[in-house]
């Protein structure tokens, strides 16, 4: 997965994705079956005015970044059917992995010291620590 242009001042998915990309990805997680661009457009156009060409371009961009997967379907005119590659938790884990990896690479000792410090502080507060550990455990 290629994550570029991280936006530290934005929250949640928008930290790693553009506004429209985040909306499209949410839509993808909500749907159970793979969706075509036209189906996506119908879904998204309910809440915000967006052109079908924009949806196609956004999905193509997410595919190039390795965030979604697609299958070429030839029946009924050639088109792609997009589906999610990661669950929401997996994706967020990837983002954290990406950011922490960069930090560990650039400021190794300081980052490790910071994390150790954070953990020992948190040990005083058991409930907080167990919450962190729960999240860190692989699912």
């Amino acid at each position: 997965m290629k994550l570029a242009n991280l936006r530290p001042h934005q929250r949640d998915l928008k930290f790693a994705l553009g506004d429209l990309e985040a909306i499209v990805l949410r839509e993808l997680w909500e749907s159970k079956t793979p969706l075509s661009v036209k189906e996506f457009h119908v879904q998204i156009a309910r809440t915000r005015p967006v052109a079908v060409t924009t949806v196609a371009t956004i999905l193509d961009r997410l595919y190039r970044k390795g965030i979604v997967q697609r299958k070429l379907v030839r029946e009924g005119g050639p088109h792609y059917e997009y589906s999610a590659k990661f669950t929401e938790d997996q994706f967020k884990h990837e983002i954290v992995d990406n950011v922490m990896g960069t930090l560990l690479h650039s400021f190794n000792d300081i980052t490790v010291a910071y994390l150790a410090d954070k953990m020992s502080n948190d040990r005083k507060n058991d409930t907080q620590l167990s919450k962190y550990l729960d999240r860190l455990r692989p699912k």
Binding site: V37, H41, A51, T53, A56, T57, L72, G77, P78, Y80
Partner: protein, 312 residues
């Protein structure tokens, strides 16, 4: 302000626009004819192309005038001035044009032995192609027959960015349509995009664009050429739209296809190679003043021209 200052300012301005100092007649003729090409030929894009390429021709002849005079052949019947007639090797303009001509020749040779002779997959390794649908090949063949040209190959590109473009490989033309275009436009809109590409082939735009670009390379030292080359490209786009309407027999589909492509509020990944002819610019300049260097006209202008055609 004294007149000496004004005079030197005038010389600097003309230097910027048409190159080193030369007789006022030639300078004036160049500037006036380029303005005329853009203003007078507002609706006839063929005439505009001829005028713009004519200016290139005039600039070329005028640049190598000292050589011609030296050979006893004064094509432009004006006195060219001591700096170019007698000081052949000191005349920067002549020297730069000769360098540019060599560069243009090298570029032409490079292009002639490059992609043009490879097959599609070798020429564009970054693109992946899939088998075109029967429908796509049929509409390309049908529209080419209507236009009266040899049918080009139809190619489907495995990409989600909505665009269509024409490339020349292996000595023949191929019209490439992306899957992103097929899935986001309706059938008649896709056909209109194909018709636009066929129109480029019918109007010999590959040759004309190459002529304009090579002239620009040859005249690289003359700033005017950087305005004329994109102007030729834009005129050919308008003309291709007009021809496409004649081919498909209606402007509606092309108008709605172009407006859908214009509505795309994010910049698609550029997958078309730089020497291909695209249906619309993927990265138009944000500032209006810089659009004079764009090789595609504003989509708005193209749409309003098509709407005007519909009214007539």
């Amino acid at each position: 302000m004294n007149s000496l200052f004004l005079h030197s300012y005038f010389i600097m301005l003309t230097w910027f626009l048409v190159g080193p100092p030369r007789p006022i007649l030639v300078t004036g003729a160049l500037l006036l004819s380029s303005l005329a090409a853009l203003l007078v030929f507002k609706h006839s894009f063929r005439a505009r192309t001829v005028a713009l390429l004519g200016i290139f021709g005039l600039m070329l002849v005028e640049s190598i005038q000292p050589v011609l005079v030296w050979l006893g052949l004064e094509l432009i019947p004006v006195h060219v001035g001591w700096w170019s007639t007698f000081h052949l090797f000191v005349d920067a303009n002549l020297l730069l044009t000769l360098i540019g001509t060599v560069a243009a020749f090298c570029a032409a040779v490079y292009i002639q032995f490059g992609r043009v002779r490879m097959d599609l997959a070798t020429a564009f390794p970054q693109m992946s192609f899939v088998n075109p649908t029967l429908e796509l090949s049929e509409s390309v063949t049908r529209l080419a027959k209507v236009a009266g040209i040899k049918p080009p190959e139809a190619v489907l590109v495995d990409s989600g960015s909505p665009t269509a473009f024409t490339v020349k490989t292996n000595g023949r033309y191929a019209i490439a349509v992306t899957i992103g275009l097929l899935e986001s436009l309706e059938r008649d809109e896709v056909e209109a995009c194909i018709a636009h590409e066929i129109a480029h082939l019918k109007n010999n735009d590959f040759t004309l664009r190459l002529t304009a670009t090579l002239s620009k390379v040859a005249l690289f030292a003359r700033p005017l050429s950087y305005f004329i080359e994109p102007a030729v490209y834009r005129a050919r786009e308008f003309l291709a739209d007009k021809t496409a309407v004649l081919i498909t027999g209606g402007a509606d589909a092309l108008v709605s296809a172009l407006s859908k492509l214009q509505e795309c509020s994010v910049i698609p990944e550029v997958i078309a190679p730089t020497d291909a002819i695209c249906v619309c610019s993927l990265r138009p300049s944000k500032r209006a003043a810089l659009r004079i260097f764009d090789k595609h006209p504003d989509l708005e202008k193209r749409i309003s021209m098509l709407r005007r055609m519909k009214m007539e």
